[in-house]
């Protein structure tokens, strides 16, 4: 069984919601990324969403754009990230999903990409500029290898689209909380709850909410609505602020993760 499915099943048994933590691979370096993943696991994150940097991240706000830029400037490539993942898998069992854009995947080769995911212990993929209509190759290869394809549903998605998104998704469904790009927001739209309920009524798959969620309070509120909560930019900001001091970086991320995890798991 895929590690993501297994994790959601475990949490359900305990009556808990999943905390999904996003970081950009290679920011500030791949060796620190490895340590961040281990620290996230230790501090209570349930799933790691690992960003594969792309030069033109149209779904990302300034925080993650800057992280991608830093990672690329440091010479990170998809190949290097795969080999880091392979090494990391020897020491951690936390489910990992890649979040990237379609062009690097296309260039690497869709089939080869999915096989490399399988081989190096990547459990799922999230590609925000790849709607399910354009994802037939990816879905076919991913089903064969048992890699989850996590599609996004948006506040603007029609009922018909949500039905197809639910059908195309494995692992979980990523509900985008707002019309916009990634990045911390002080307020989230009130219709999240009803939209998530609507999706859940159509899906016997977990639904996680992401985009804009940055504070422990918001994370807790979202955990009451959905099966999982994704926090990205708020964590990446800590990485950005502690580029030179990896000890401090790990310490601060661990503290923040613990607070978020507590809120989400006790919601």
């Amino acid at each position: 069984m895929n590690r993501i499915d297994k994790k959601f099943r475990e949490l359900k048994r305990e009556g808990k919601k999943a905390f999904i933590a996003y970081i950009t691979a290679g920011d500030p370096s791949l060796s620190v990324t490895k340590r961040i993943v281990l620290s996230l696991e230790e501090s209570g994150a349930d799933i790691v969403e690992l960003g594969i940097p792309f030069s033109d991240p149209i779904a990302d706000g300034p925080t993650i754009q800057a992280a991608s830029h830093r990672a690329l400037a440091g010479g990170v490539t998809l190949k290097k990230i795969f080999s880091m993942m392979g090494a990391l898998r020897k020491t951690t069992r936390i489910p990992v999903a890649f979040m990237t854009y379609y062009n690097p995947v296309l260039k690497y080769g869709v089939e080869k990409f999915v096989k490399s995911c399988k081989h190096n212990g990547v459990d799922g993929v999230i590609i925000p500029d790849l709607p399910h209509e354009e994802a037939k190759d990816l879905i076919r290869c991913a089903r064969r290898e048992g890699v989850a394809t996590i599609f996004l549903a948006a506040p603007t998605s029609t009922r018909k689209r949500i039905k197809d998104i639910v059908k195309s998704s494995t692992g979980f469904i990523y509900y985008v909380s707002l019309t916009g790009v990634t990045g911390a927001r002080s307020k989230l739209p009130p219709e999240i709850a009803s939209n998530v309920r609507a999706i859940k009524s159509m899906a016997r798959k977990p639904v996680a909410v992401g985009f804009g969620i940055s504070s422990p309070g918001q994370a807790r509120d979202m955990a009451r609505i959905a099966d999982g909560v994704i926090v990205g930019s708020a964590i990446v900001k800590i990485v950005a602020a502690n580029q030179k001091n990896s000890k401090m970086l790990i310490l601060k991320i661990s503290q923040f993760t613990k607070t978020l995890a507590r809120g989400i798991h006790n919601a």
Binding site: F54, S55, D56, P57, I58, A59, G61, Q65, H69, L72, T77, L78, K79, Y101, Y102, N103, P104, V105, L106, K107, Y108, P128, D129, L130, P131, E133, E134, F151, L152, A153, A154, P155, T156, S157, T158, R161, I165, V176, T179, G180, V181
Partner: protein, 391 residues
Amino acid sequence: MRSPDRHGYFGNFGGKFVPETLMAALSELEIAYKKACAKKAFKEELDSYLKDYAGRPTPLYFAERLTERAGGARIYLKREDLLHTGAHKINNTLGQVLLALKMGKSRVIAETGAGQHGVATATVAALFGLECEIFMGEEDIKRQAVNVFKMKLLKAKVTPVSSGSRTLKDAMNEAIRNWVTNVRTTYYCIGSVAGPHPYPVMVRDFQSVIGREARVQSLRIFKSIPDHIVACVGGGSNAMGIFYAFLNDKVKFAGVEAAGLGLGTGKHAATLCKGSVGVLHGSKSYILQDDDGQIEIAHSISAGLDYPGVGPEHSCFKESGRAQYVAVTDKQALEGFKMLTELEGIIPALESSHAVYYASKLAKKLSKDKKIIVCLSGRGDKDIDIVRGVL
């Protein structure tokens, strides 16, 4: 294949590669566009603005002294430079903004490189009293200061984009991000035959007035269709606009890309000549990318060609061989600029100068009874400072 299939593919190219948030908006746009196309009133309204506001039809002008200098085929210029706002871009912005009004959108956004599409969008937004925001790379704001000032005079907000190469590609990223955020109230007016379906087909249709006129004019002026059509290609809207009406004729199409400092230098914008297939800004097409699928930074002296992607229908034409794509360097484009200015008294945009240069070389190789039409997509006022700096 004449039109894209129902998924927006021209052969292997096109499609919709955008965040889910925009998928419903693209469907809404597709339906609104189809509805507008079916209505005679929409076409008549657009035609009347094209005629009385933009200044259509534009002349097909025989460039006698340029022809003499080249020493071969007769060169005719399709004078899009004479249009209101100084380039072909207004053909498309009039069409799209009229459509935005029909869709009940109160705000229009656009990306711009050279500023021509930005000015054309801001102009039409002013005409219809719509709120307008233009995204423009910081690098382009520097080199196209006059157009920036014009947009501000027209009451558009010009938002500088400081990410990546700070040029057209990054302006388009930021425009997409803004559209994702304001999708319910905002109409995104893309300036080229690029982007997700239905933009490539819609922009092509709005620009195809160039070729329709040129075809009628050719038959009237030289009693036949031309042997060659030459147009510059950045995203490719003026080229597609003039090619399209001649698609089933025996005319050779040449799309002229920007070779920048040279095709071997890595500093160029020759996407079709040197690029490979990928996905950028919503469609599958040729792009400039490295081995890891990261988008490469384009270079051209002309901001309007300085783009690492190209419209998907051009990729389809390249693959089918319907059009030939060539490249002209910054230096050669400047030569074309000087030639047209000195011999014809027409100061062309640096973008169009690429086509002028290539046409003069092509003419030389052809016999005197052959005819070439060059799409003179824009005038050069906006480029005077750049040219002053290098000549």
